[in-house]
């Protein structure tokens, strides 16, 4: 029985981490699937959003929820501007140019934050109601992890509805599957790109703020977790919301469990698994077969 509770609480921790991974990565998956753009600066948007949230709480005394909304809006607006001004010029460029451009952008983000705010970890104080333990019937568990799971489920549900039931969702799905066809049907692809990109960056900002409690928040955040975000996207399949969700949960739980039982080789195992999986299914676990 004790063992069962132990496993359950570990699973909860892993699932909570997976939710944050999902919230950050979902935008990356959609923009990569939609535009074929290798956006290595995505972690940078999560970092910037996390900073916006943490600083708004610290300096303006904003509550956690209003600060999250603020971070989402600011990051989405900033990324929409960047998309129109710079990213849009590179949609037809080679992968190499996209990689260089986004690495350059990450460097600039890291350096600017270090110059303006400093290289140290930015503490993000959770409101008292989210701290402490919650009684789940069989066991007490950290309130924040439970909240993260609930938030994650709400978000994936909302995104799923948005993707499957709204006009813009249908347009995005059409453009992911066949961009030229969608364009000839009169869908305004450029506008769609901007909206999706801004929304995805906003989600990354949310993830940056929500995950700051256990991922930390410092300028290097932008590169430190990039490989994880990319793995989640590659495993989940490009442009697939549910795929990214399952992949994020899988990676989150695996990482959590491995760090506990094999603190030494856990990361290596995840890399090896990713390599094998991508060799078996280059389009990811849940991606559509590439024709």
């Amino acid at each position: 029985m004790i063992f069962g509770i132990d496993v359950a609480s570990m699973l909860l921790g892993g699932v909570a981490a997976g939710m944050v991974l999902f919230i950050v990565s979902v935008g990356l998956s959609v923009t990569m699937g939609l535009m074929g753009f290798v956006n290595l600066a995505h972690g940078g948007f999560a970092m910037l959003g996390g900073y916006a949230i943490a600083l708004a709480m610290k300096h303006w005394g904003l509550g956690f929820l209003p600060a999250l909304v603020f971070g989402f809006v600011v990051t989405a607006a900033a990324s929409a501007m960047l998309e129109r001004l710079l990213y849009a010029r590179l949609y037809r460029a080679t992968e190499l140019d996209q990689v260089l451009f986004t690495i350059g952008l990450v460097f600039m983000m890291i350096a600017s934050v270090t110059l303006l705010i400093g290289p140290e970890n930015q503490p993000l104080a959770l409101p008292a109601i989210l701290q402490g333990q919650i009684n789940l019937g069989i066991t007490h568990y950290r309130t924040y992890s439970v909240v993260l799971i609930v938030v994650g489920i709400v978000i994936v549900g909302g995104l799923w509805l948005g993707f499957e039931r709204t006009q813009i969702g249908a347009q995005i799905r059409a453009a992911v599957d066949n961009r030229r066809m969608a364009e000839s049907l009169g869908i305004n692809i450029a506008r769609l790109f901007t909206i999706t990109f801004a929304f995805g960056s906003g989600m990354a900002a949310l993830g940056g703020g929500l995950g700051a409690e256990f991922l930390g928040l410092d300028p290097q955040y932008a590169l430190k977790y990039l490989v994880y975000f990319l793995i989640v996207v590659a495993v989940g399949g490009l442009g697939r919301v549910t795929g990214v969700f399952y992949a994020a949960l899988l990676i989150g739980v695996l990482d959590f469990v491995l760090k506990k039982y094999v603190p030494q080789g856990g990361t290596a195992f995840i890399y090896a698994l990713t390599i094998l999986l991508l060799l078996w299914r280059p389009q990811g676990l849940f991606g559509a077969k590439v024709t």
Binding site: M32, G36, V38, L86, R89, L90, A93, T94, E95, L96, D97, Q98, V99, L100, F101, I103, G104, L105, V106, F107, M108, M109, I110, A111, S112, T114, L115, P119, L223, V227, L230, I231, A234, L238, Q264, G265, T267, A268, Y271, A272, T274, I275, L278, L279, P282, Q283
Partner: protein, 338 residues
């Protein structure tokens, strides 16, 4: 079928094609400069050695990226494989002769390149990018885990490298031997790569980069060529890593890291890829700038580097050499119209 007309060999295009591989007048310049550096800056030979090793590494990347068009974020895997080969053999007292050590480093790195290339090069695009990245990260983790053999996070230091040819001592404090040794190795590898890219094999790599479908259609063994190119490039990267370990007498996880892979990519793109000499120009420009700036203003250096990358990606896709070539071409056409 029409036969070539008489006098076709004198056609300007034919002459240009036939003369492409010839040594240009300016080609000895980098080597003369490298020798001049040896005499002019005896106090900075350590830095000079680092420059030469980086040039060698960048040339190996140019072969896969610039000629075969394989975008990789994990090229440091081979640099590290070479460095650890030399380091582990020397530290555990198995083998410490420098020249044969480099050959062993090349063979092992080539084996890693061949093995990973055989499976990775089936994919392309984002998947390939991810796989190169994960392969390197996996090697880094493996080196970290096997700390009994690799020294783990601390690496292996004070490697007992035997004197070159049994005569010339390696001494990091007095790096004359290192500099000339690295310069010689760089020259040999460069001649090899230069011959390779102008050979039919090299031409077919360029063909694959420009139009893979057409190369399939004309019956070129595309996969085989790419894998061979990947393995050869890995071998040269392994030599660069091995010689780095020998010159510094240590090896650490940094030789396998994303930092090194990203830096060499930036260097190559800065100089201009697919041009052989881009590796030279890029390395000198990057290393000299970073040598002076990164120690004093590390954050400003990162900001400037980021800006530079963004500008290159948006406006100057062929790097410094590309800008120079465009300028020369413009001068020539202006000259011709006058």
């Amino acid at each position: 079928m029409t036969l070539p007309q008489a006098g076709w060999a004198d056609h300007p295009a034919a002459l240009a094609l036939a003369g492409r591989h010839r040594v240009r007048v300016w080609e000895p310049i980098p080597w003369v400069l490298a020798l001049a550096f040896y005499f002019a800056f005896p106090k900075h030979l350590g830095f000079g050695t680092e420059l030469l090793v980086t040039i060698l590494f960048a040339i190996s990347l140019d072969l896969v990226l610039g000629y075969a068009g394989i975008v990789t974020l994990g090229h440091a895997a081979f640099f590290g494989a070479g460095a650890y080969t030399v380091g582990m053999l020397a530290k555990h007292g198995i083998w410490n002769e420098p020249v044969t050590g480099l050959i062993l480093a090349a063979v092992l790195a080539a084996a890693v390149g061949l093995g990973s290339g055989l499976v990775l090069l089936r994919t392309h695009g984002l998947t390939l990018l991810m796989l190169t990245l994960c392969t390197m990260a996996l090697l880094e983790e493996a080196a970290n885990l096997a700390h009994d053999y690799t020294g783990g996070f601390d690496g292996l230091d004070s490697l007992p490298i035997a004197p070159l040819f049994g005569v010339f001592e390696f001494n990091p404090l007095y790096p004359k031997t290192q500099y000339l040794y690295v310069l010689t190795v760089l020259f040999v590898c460069f001649v090899f790569v230069r011959t390779l890219v102008y050979s039919p094999f090299g031409q077919s790599l360029t063909g694959i980069r420009e139009n893979m479908l057409r190369m399939h259609a004309v019956g070129a063994p595309v996969r085989g060529r790419l894998v061979l190119c990947y393995a050869l490039s890995a071998a040269i990267a392994g030599v660069a890593g091995g010689i780095w370990a020998q010159a510094n007498a240590y090896v650490n996880l940094g030789t396998l890291g994303l930092d090194r892979a990203a830096t060499v990519l930036i260097i190559l793109v800065l100089g201009g890829y697919g041009r052989l000499y881009g590796a030279f120009i890029g390395t000198v420009a990057y290393m000299v700038l970073s040598h002076f700036l990164s120690k004093i203003y590390p954050t400003a250096w990162q900001l400037g580097l980021g800006l530079l990358l963004v500008v290159i990606a948006l406006f100057a896709r062929n790097g410094i050499l590309g800008i120079a070539e465009a300028a020369v071409r413009r001068l020539r056409t202006r000259h011709a119209t006058l």
